[in-house]
């Protein structure tokens, strides 16, 4: 019975199936909302799934001279790291036991896809891939740091690097969204930079580098990359919700689960709105924004949290 329970939890809920379905749903929501903001109709609900199915049927070719082994390995590593990250995240239902330091492990696992993205640009040799990969690496060095710094505010306030303790602290006092609103906004900016969404999508800007590091990928490999990006969005948002909104619901309850889903949808709506409103920034403007504005504010914010 325990085996069946474990199987259910890993593969169905809150495991693979639930994660994939929610990730695709969030992606559809993103596209639909952006379309509505732009005065269009938007795709039907099954569009993300249809895109993935279609990709699986496409031919999988790479340019002469690419390292085929790594080109196949990198999307697998990215997908695996994001799935593992999702296991450590309590999505309103305790999935894996929390331990000291799982905050850092989660951040590390979530940052793997960005590193793999840069490497993917190098192994599939092509002008656009290399340029896209270089830009992605630059953005990786900047916005991962911002994400870590901003999210650390919650860890500092809880006095521990464990996700369960962060949650306990929020239940004891009040959800961090009220105490650390600046930290929340900076984390959101860091997440947009991590996910390479507009306005920080210069590594995959269609009008300049076609598709960035993923230009030469197609077929199953590209499907895995897209799945990774969708999952990364979902896990990133769940991470944010856990660290800032935890006090609002009880674990292991239906109402808690629905509040969690509602928060996911609201945050995805905020991300879509930001994508629709702003124009893409150039890479130097991006870096300037990060190191001259965001990081100093994050540092000051963390010092303030430390002192009180």
């Amino acid at each position: 019975m325990n085996q069946l329970n474990l199987f259910f939890r890993i593969f169905i809920f809150p495991g693979f199936l639930f994660l994939l379905v929610t990730a695709l749903f969030l992606h559809w929501l993103d596209r639909k909302l952006i379309a509505r903001f732009q005065g269009r109709v938007g795709p039907p609900w099954y569009q993300p799934l249809a895109d993935l199915v279609r990709l699986f049927a496409k031919e999988d070719i790479l340019p002469v001279g690419s390292n085929l082994f790594f080109a196949a390995l990198l999307p697998l590593i990215s997908f695996a790291s994001v799935l593992t990250a999702s296991f450590y995240l309590p999505i309103a239902i305790q999935s894996a036991p929390s331990f000291q330091g799982d905050f850092i492990v989660l951040l590390f696992l979530l940052s793997m896809p960005s590193l793999m993205y840069f490497l993917a640009g190098w192994v599939t040799r092509g002008v656009y891939s290399v340029i896209g990969g270089n830009r992605a690496l630059l953005q990786y060095f900047s916005y991962e740091v911002l994400f870590l710094l901003a999210m650390s505010g919650t860890a500092i306030a809880s006095g521990s690097w464990s996700l369960a303790d962060i949650r306990l602290e929020q239940i004891k006092e009040s959800p961090f969204i009220f105490l650390q609103i600046i930290g929340f906004l900076l984390s959101l900016a860091g997440l947009i930079g991590k996910l390479k969404r507009e306005p920080f999508d210069i590594p995959k800007a269609k009008s300049e580098v076609i598709a960035g590091a993923l230009t030469e990928f197609s077929g199953k490999k590209l499907a895995l990359w897209y799945l990774t990006i969708h999952l990364q969005t979902m896990v990133g948002l769940s991470f944010l919700i856990h660290c800032y909104f935890s006090g609002f619901w009880q674990m292991n309850t239906i109402s808690g689960f629905f509040i969690f889903l509602l928060l996911l949808i609201i945050l995805q709506g905020v991300l879509s709105a930001i994508s629709a409103i702003y124009a893409r920034l150039r890479i130097d403007q991006l870096i300037h924004l990060n190191w001259h504005i965001f990081i100093p504010i994050a540092l000051l914010h963390n010092i303030y949290i430390l002192l009180i």
């Binding site: 340019p63 002469v64 001279g65 040799r125 092509g126 002008v127 030469e216």
Partner: protein
């Protein structure tokens, strides 16, 4: 200076006969000069404040080629130069008006006019491996073998 005054000044400086100046439709003054006078004529025009060169037209008549330089400033001024079939060489005006480069390149590849001192004598519109002669000339038929090899049939190279 207006077009009319510039035309009169040109006639003075280049010692042109009154018959070389004509008026053609849509407000254009046409002046016939000889090919040795082209640089001096363009300098005079630039000095009188007319800098805009609209186009350089080349055409082939029965036994000569004509080059027309069309200037404009609230009115049009065209310089007509006649070139002998056997001697299609003329000074390039790119040193005075850099914007004439594309027009001269096109006249060169379409008609075979040699512009002396042209900065960039590459074809503008025709493909790199064009073998069909000068397309705009009247008497020539476009040759059957227009390009040596079909670029699309080269072996595929990867990015």
């Amino acid at each position: 200076m207006t077009i009319e005054k510039t035309a009169i000044k040109l006639q003075e400086i280049l010692n042109l006969d009154r018959s070389t100046k004509k008026l053609i439709p849509l407000n254009e003054v046409k002046i016939t000069i000889s090919k040795q006078q082209i640089l001096l004529a363009v300098q005079t025009i630039l000095k009188s404040g007319i800098w805009h060169l609209s186009a350089i037209t080349c055409q082939q008549l029965e036994n000569e080629f004509n080059l027309l330089y069309h200037f404009w400033k609230s009115g049009g001024l065209t310089l007509l130069i006649s070139l002998d079939e056997k001697n299609l060489r003329i000074d390039s005006i790119c040193s005075l008006i850099p914007g004439a480069e594309y027009y001269e390149r096109e006249a060169r590849e379409m008609f075979g006019i040699e512009f002396l001192g042209m900065p960039n004598p590459l074809p503008l519109l025709l493909p790199d491996n064009w073998q069909g002669g000068y397309p705009m000339r009247k008497k020539e038929q476009p040759s059957q073998e227009k390009s040596k090899e079909n670029p699309a049939q080269e072996k595929g190279k990867s990015a």
